[in-house]
Amino acid sequence: MSLYPSFARPNSLAQASELLAGLSGGSVIIAGGQEIMPYINHGAMQPDIYIDIGGLKELRGISEADGVVSIGALTVHRELQGNAIVAEKLPMLADAASRAGGGRQVHNRATLGGNLVAMHPLYDIAPALLALGAEVELVKAGETRRTSLAALMHETSHGLGSEAILVRVLVPAMAAGTGWAYEKLKLSGGAYGSANAAATVQLDAGRITAATLMIGAVADRIIDAAAAVQGLIGQAWTAAAAEQLELRCPALVKQPLSDQQGSGEWRQAMAGVVARRAMAAAVARAGQK
């Protein structure tokens, strides 16, 4: 810890990785600073050295190849909202990014990487990416590794933020006709989410052939509601199916968060409401372009 941290701005991923490997603790990666600066200003975090990754070209840009959209970790929320590839191939991600709070100023600086590494249960981008089956590319001590975002979120020693760099996020393009919806329930305009749901669905002749559903902001981890969605496969989306889904989801919330975003009892119930609403909207959208 240092009262006056030093500052380094490497120019390449290799340089950054080398630098991080050579430093023993106390270093912290900074991207847009939207997450970390409030902590530092508040005294909750006292790093020795900031590694500003803003200069790493490898972490920028959005491209598509072989049905996979590759998004640089430094992509800011505004780019996610306005990028043509994202809009066409991953409209749910664009929507989730636009639903994040903080307004324009934050959206212009807040990066995809920073949002994911924060692993904050109330955040919006991870549920959408999880529902889309995203993978991530990390670099640690010069080694590159690829893993699913879902697995990463359960790792305890990924070292992101201090030793490891999140380089890119790789998301399978949404198949044509996929229905999707991101549902966010918050107490007021400026509040973080109290219950969020990201859903995708494929329909064939009115029956659900595949679906994903992630529920965020109700527990300390994002909940994969695959178990609740299972019963929908092969079914039409009927009032009864909707009711079933709404009943099943709260049961997946073992330990609801209970904080100023709402009581645990309410959050648990809302897990069902947002799940049903998201799925209903996804179904309504399915098959449309």
Partner: protein, 803 residues
């Protein structure tokens, strides 16, 4: 927004003039208190108690003193050796209550979470904060009391050692024969209203920078202070130093809302540290610290006695205010005003209101916009809504039936207030018309759509403003100087200050008209005890009433001087001289003109000729003292501390999503009476601000604690104020009844609206939920709370159906 067209464009008053002081903050050029840095500047960090109730066993500062860059460490006991207890802004003892000895930092006993315990002064902020972590404090943690009613239990922990109970003050507000009124009532409606702790959060937090003036052995305090002169007086008492050695300078303020009224420990503490170190010492409040300042938490047990037609015969209220730990700030007085303002706009004579102000281990209150009058409005308006529902009456109709009528003014209220003027029924009807009441009723009658229930809420708020409490520095009068320079430019210096409301512009409009100059000739200086005339600063919607009123009187005196000089220059009788927007002319003689500048220069240089008959310089200081404030008690011991009674009607339409409990405000209208509008933009800005305060408080702003009394709400992530998407455009209509005793009929316009708008929202939500059998008078009506009430009502329904 209202129509801003005005008929009289020869005057600035009444027009939507752009604020003269508005540019600097918008372009980032304003200098706030925190922007001042002086040579040798030091920074203070305050160590605060993590416990709500504790005894301090030991404080070991040695670790902090070892940190390089630390200049001084002080604990409560050492500070107490240098400083007297903080003088109360409003001493409860003056009103028959108990007065605690409030020290700048805890000595032996901790009263609340966040109470200052020690302070570190260092060469920079980070060093001070780092060193503060090295101070070791051993506490004996005690069981706190957090609930007001629980704190009155005989076995409750006593917050202030030596007190016999936690009750700081109890007072009745009684009139007539309430028992008889209840005995003959056809209906008695009981309503409990729980108002939670919510606050006012200025974007600029507090900041004090004390500069030791070696040449005079005195101190200058740069401060986010609403009331520089009275603060100087407090500092002189606490520091034991004459007022003449103290200067308080309050630069541009980024919002105050009452929170920057003084009595805060950090004010005198920074002065002491400057004295001890001989260097400037600054402390800037963090948001977390700012959120410690509470307000408003009250529980009312209301009873209304009504006849068969819905006429209110009597009112009873037992209310408890949880004011937190003792403080020298004027916050507790809010509780007193709640009772004094009963029964608001209603013509009820037989009342029995009992106030109980309770000290608990929550952090202290300070004044907050509304100053207790918002709680009166909430309690009354929610009770009346309940009454309307139980009697099957329309919410508007029951109010119209019970209002004081326009021809009854001036009206002596049952608590001794003298309401100056108003037309309450007219305001309600205007607001209903503005929102399209009948249309919404028709839409509501169509029933819920997609689980969304619509409700309409009506509420009224009476807001006494411009207050003066006897024996305190809450004064009813104020003074201003108008100074005209030889070049004809004008400086107004006022005893009132602005928290960012735009009153300098309003005052300049008044002076421009009275003096006869253009707006661009005027500068306004406020907030400096050494340059400004003695004054009491801003609170209680007073600054335009008394600041504008006194500046008008001073301007009239200066105008008389320049007119005399102009008459001599023109060589015509004074009565023939005209002055408008900086140009003198002679009645009936076209083409003969002189500029204001020419006349002013002639005055300054013509003391033995054209200015022979006047007293130079071209300056005057005047005081405005509203004549209807009465501090001599009447036969019942009552006083009238207020000169003006602003009032407004609020009507809102809310939509409740019954699946989630979430509410959306669909429409909002207000009809506002501030006596006379000097500048509609300023008035509407204030009124809309108050409305968003009320809506935020009613629906989601809340300061929460855990069961051990630790505050959970620590940042804007948890304390969320409304954003534009949370409010529809407010339809604002003016319904002004000029105040007969103030300059131009002014009433306060800065404070009104928090309670009325909050009550309108609560009433609308409850109105929407009538079909579900929900009535929720525990604030805030946040989505989880509304949902919880709906669930409870459903379960109740199921149980009843099963039985």
């Amino acid at each position: 927004m209202a129509d801003h067209s005005t008929t009289d464009d020869t005057r600035y008053v009444g027009q939507a003039v752009r604020t003269i002081e508005g540019r600097a903050p918008i372009v980032g050029a304003a200098r706030y208190t925190n922007d001042f840095v002086f040579p040798g500047q030091l920074y203070a960090h305050i160590v605060r108690s993590p416990h709500a109730a504790a005894r301090i066993r030991r404080i070991d500062s040695s670790g902090a003193l070892k940190v390089s860059g630390v200049v001084r460490v002080l604990d409560g006991a050492e500070a107490a050796a240098h400083l007297k207890p903080i003088t109360h802004y409003i001493d409860p003892a003056v009103f028959g209550g108990k007065s605690a000895e409030v020290r700048v930092m805890a000595v032996d006993d901790v009263w609340c979470y966040g109470q200052p315990v020690a302070v570190v002064v260092a060469e920079d902020k980070r060093t001070a904060r780092f060193a503060a972590q090295r101070i070791q404090i051993v506490y004996d943690v005690l069981e706190p009391v957090l609930d007001a009613e629980a704190a009155t239990a005989p076995d409750a922990h006593i917050v202030v050692p030596g007190w016999d109970s936690n009750i700081m003050m109890q007072a009745p507000f009684r009139n007539g024969d309430p028992d008889a009124a209840f005995a003959k009532a056809a209906h008695v409606v009981k309503t409990s209203v729980d108002i939670h702790r919510f606050s006012t959060q200025p974007i600029e937090t507090r900041c004090y920078n004390a500069v030791w003036e070696h040449d005079i052995e005195g101190v200058t305090l740069y401060a986010t202070a609403q009331n520089p002169h009275p603060l100087r007086h407090v500092l002189s008492e606490v520091l034991g130093m004459p007022e003449s050695k103290i200067r308080v300078h309050a630069p541009v303020i980024g919002g105050a809302f009452g929170m920057k009224m003084h009595g805060h420990p950090e004010e005198a503490l920074m002065c002491l540290l400057a004295k001890l170190t001989g260097r400037p010492v600054k402390w800037t409040e963090t948001r977390e610290e700012c959120l410690l300042i509470g307000a408003r938490e009250q529980r009312h047990h209301m009873e209304l006695a009504l006849d068969a037609d819905g006429v209110i015969l009597g009112l009873r209220d037992r209310y408890f205010a949880n004011v937190g730990a003792p403080s020298a700030c004027p916050g507790w007085g809010m509780a007193f005003l709640t009772g004094l303002t009963m029964p608001g706009p209603y013509a009820v004579r037989d009342i029995d209101v009992q106030m109980t102000v309770v000290i608990t281990n929550k952090p202290s209150w300070n004044a907050a916009r509304g100053y207790g009058k918002e709680s009166t409005a909430l309690a009354l308006e929610l009770a009346i809504e309940d009454a309307a529902r139980q009697l099957g009456m329309d919410a508007a109709e029951i109010r119209l039936k019970n209002f004081i009528r326009a021809e009854q003014f001036p009206y002596n209220s049952p608590t001794g207030l003298i309401y100056d003027s108003g037309d309450y029924s007219g305001a309600v009807l205007k607001a209903m018309h503005a929102i399209g009441y009948e249309g919404w009723k028709a839409r509501q009658a169509e029933g819920p759509k997609d689980g969304k229930y619509i409700g309409i809420g009506v509420a009224f708020e009476l807001t006494p403003e411009g207050g003066a409490l006897p024996g305190t520095m809450v004064a009813g009068y104020d003074s201003s100087s108008v100074r005209v320079a030889p070049d004809g430019s004008v400086r107004i210096l006022t005893g009132v200050t602005t928290p960012g409301t735009g009153n300098p512009t309003g005052i300049a409009q008044i002076v421009a008209d009275e003096l006869g100059v253009t707006m661009d000739a005027i500068e306004v200086t406020q907030g400096d005890t050494t340059t400004c005339p003695y004054g009491f600063g801003n609170y209680s919607g007073r600054s335009t009433i008394v600041g504008g009123g006194s500046a008008a009187l001073a301007a009239q005196q200066v105008r008389a001087k320049v007119v005399t000089v102009a008459a001599a220059l023109f060589d015509v009788p004074e009565a023939d001289v005209e002055l408008h927007r900086g140009v003198f002319s002679v009645k009936g003689q076209q083409g003969r003109t002189l500029t204001f500048k020419e006349v002013c220069y002639a005055a300054y240089t013509g003391a033995y000729s054209v200015a022979h008959g006047i007293t130079l310089p071209l300056e005057a200081t005047a005081t405005f003292k509203p004549s209807n404030i009465r501090h001599t008690p009447d036969e019942n011991g009552r006083i009238n501390p207020y000169p003006s009674y602003s009032n407004a009607a609020y009507v809102t339409v809310c939509e409740v999503d019954v699946e989630t409990g979430k509410t959306k405000v669909l429409a909002f209208a207000a009809a506002h009476d501030c006596g006379r509008v000097i500048n509609p933009v300023l008035v509407e800005g204030q009124a809309c601000g108050a409305i968003s305060f009320g809506v935020g408080g009613a629906m989601f702003e809340a300061i929460a604690f855990d069961s051990s009394g630790r505050q959970l709400t620590r940042s804007f992530m948890d304390y969320v104020m409304p954003r534009s998407e949370d409010l529809p455009a407010v339809k604002m209509v003016h319904h002004d009844s000029p105040n007969p005793v103030t300059y131009m009929g002014l009433k306060g316009a800065g404070e009104a609206g928090v309670g009325g708008s909050a009550a309108a929202v609560v009433n609308a939500i409850n109105n929407a939920l009538i079909p579900l059998g929900v009535s929720l008078n525990t604030l805030p009506l946040s989505a989880p709370n509304v949902w919880g009430a709906i669930q409870a009502a459903r379960k109740r329904g199921q149980r009843e159906a099963a039985e």
